[in-house]
Amino acid sequence: MIDELSKLLSSLTVSADWVGLRATQEASTHRTVRDGIPEYNSTSTTQGIMVEVLVNGQIGYAATNSLTLESVQAAALTAQRHAIVASKWAIYPTAIAARPKVVEDYTSPILKPFDALTPGEISEILIKICHTLKVSDQIVQTSATAITTETETWFVSSNGSEAHQKFWMISTDYSATAQEGAIVQRRSNNGGVAHCYQGGMEYLVTPDLWERVQQIGTQAIELLTAEECPTETTTLMLAPDQMLLQIHESVGHPLELDRILGDERNYAGGSFVKLEDFGKRVYGSPLMNITFDPTVSGEFASYRFDDTGTPATREYLIKEGTLMRGLGSLESQARAGVPGVASTRASSWNRPPIDRMGNLNLEPGNGNFQETIASIDRGVFMEANRSWSIDDQRHKFQFSCEYGKLIENGKLTKTVRNPNYRGITPTFWGSLVNVGDRSTWQMYGTPFCGKGEPNQAIRVGHGSPIAVFANVEVFGGGS
């Protein structure tokens, strides 16, 4: 494909300072079983080319799903027209250096290929999951999903890029909904579609699958009679499956350089972080170490280079509580005058790359699970995100979880339902008082990180140990 794309590039007749072609081909299967009956079975294939043309410091783009020379030529001329007319109104003169030459190849690690299981065999597993989840007649709905995605991108450019990446990705999800009268509780496998990895069928049938499925059904029932989460200001311990959301919303999005530069103000919003904060702002307690790490094997957003061709390396965004770098590649770094990382990405061939997260992880601290619990006199332990909302500056948030446990005198005691908490980002991270060790570290991801105009949903990964925050407002449900 690289050869074909290079030939296409050399055949184009377009006057420009730089031209890039990014071809993407993606095939996904989606299988959902609800209450033991097939709900969705689908295969989606998409294929197309994004043409970027740089003229007078302005990039214009045109994307087409027709791969003929005629169509790509037409797209190149359309992109050129966009660039020419906009160059007089450009927000910033883009240099060719924003699209560096890249010659790389990357393939996701995979142990068990997607075709190791037939559609029928996958369906049987999902049906069995549903049946196992239904531990009682109070379970009114069970659901199990497996999504596989095989994505390939090829990138060539007039300054010599020839790069290819192939991603094997799998996402799984299963849940049980329990109801008793007006009380409804839903429990899932670490939150909605949180199990997102690069790899194959080894992530569908895991060694702990059936024990975990049974536990989820049982916990859904347990929540029906649990007490409401108390309303108080207390110590909050979050499991890695909720830290996924906490890191994403209150660290990842505020550090996106395009938000700080104002590009996103009309849609996703801005950020409380200012350009002058980099290198000196205290973002959280000294226990807070956040890395952008595209090198973690199996994490959902590992890659070798981003969609501008910038090589991706592991970097500290926040080190010992101090803000070091933003999320954004060379173009945003030049505009902002601050350091960034290779995270300018597109959701597919039909969208231009913008500043995104990749893998954002909280690095481990000290103390295993039991030691950490033992250090808390009074608090609430919350697992699995259920709901999330945060303001357009990424300041005031309210998140709720599926499952909570009281911590009393250094021990987990009663189960509590509808556990919610709210806070303000800098205060919250400033109150980080304990970070679990490597034994408590787990990684998850999501395929649904949304932003951009036009909108783009992209895949991100988040790994974290358990984490403890002091003096947090927690509360339960009800009107």
Binding site: V85, W89, G120
Partner: protein, 447 residues
Amino acid sequence: MSQTVSFLESSFDQLVAAIGNSLKPDEHFTLSLTSEQSQFTRFNHAKVRQTGSVNDGTLALTLMRDQRSSYHEFPFTGDVEVDRSRAKTALEALRKEVSQIPINPYLVFPSGTATSREIYTGELLTIEEVVPTLLPVVADLDFTGIYAAGLMIRAYADSVGQKHWFATDSFSLDYSLFTPDGQAVKGTFAGDLWNQAAYAAKIQESRTQISLLSQTPKSIDRGHYRTYLAPAAIAEMIEILSWGGVSEASYQQGGSCFAALRRGEKKLSPKFTLRENFRHGLVPRFNELGEVAPLELPIIETGEMVNMLISSKTAKEYKLAANGADQQEGLRSPEIAPGDLPSDQILAALGTGLYLSNLHYLNWSDRPTGRITGMTRYACFWVENGEIVAPIENLRFDDSLYQFWGENLVALTNVQEFIPDVGTYEHRNLGGTWVPGMIVNDFTYTL
């Protein structure tokens, strides 16, 4: 547009015929098309941030046989040979796959006789015209947003001969104007015929609004306040009702916020009426089985739940009558009935409290009890004795719809406003929401 649409429709028709000719006697198919030829130009600080075009189309071919089904999505290019070859590959793969998939007793086959054809031709700006037309009007403002425009197509055909074709030219400008200290007003300008005078008037209206934001924002303590929610804020609330709220399947499976209303345990105000209204004509009425929704379907009538959205599949599973809903059982053309409060009396009727132009990032904080949380956004004000006093710092609310659309609902404005759906995930969305503003008592703010 007409030449392009004719060409694409002809390609689609040929594809339908090819699939039909290769079908076996015991097989059924449906074919859905989503296609667009769009321009996207994105602005920041009244300059161009990104600009480009996207030509895209996706076909979804569903094969049904022996109460089993699966579907394949693949690109629609308009090149008959290319698309026919992909359809053939998809059909062969589906035959192999469907035989392995367990039976779905609630699978519904296409059975109707509906056909429709709607084509709306507009006059849109060319690539060369967009930036020089839009930006000079806002050159002195901190203007940010996106202009999206072009042709959108939704189409459907099946093995029993139903066919629908919906094609429309349209544009939308979704923008914000910011003050130096970060206060902002939001605006949308949409249609199918660019009108420069109307655009200039819209921007002038926004200029007037932003002048109200020049004062230092007032910090409001958490608590309960009488509140005016403008139509754009109400539209945000309506959007999340499609997350299981009005779906019959969701109700049956424990996921509806309206379950307590339906069981008679909670009530809404008789002032509150929610319905699907396709008379506005901005979205196609057909669904994934070619069924055509009624022009109007009341969901909540004067506070009473009268219908949920029921797809044919849900109808079969729960032995109910379908009402034209799509498989997601979400709202496609919602409206809230207006009330009797004249727009020029909103501030007087509010008296003292909060005036909210927009809300942001809504989500359920406790779905079974109808509790929603979210943020205030854009031009929101503290009002005293019917006079705007100052803009406010953003607040978080957390309240139950059984309260703010129940006993706390004071009044609705006597006019609806159209809030276009400007979403562009995967493709440009169609339609929008028709909603009035409303005044509520004791709206709960928590942070």
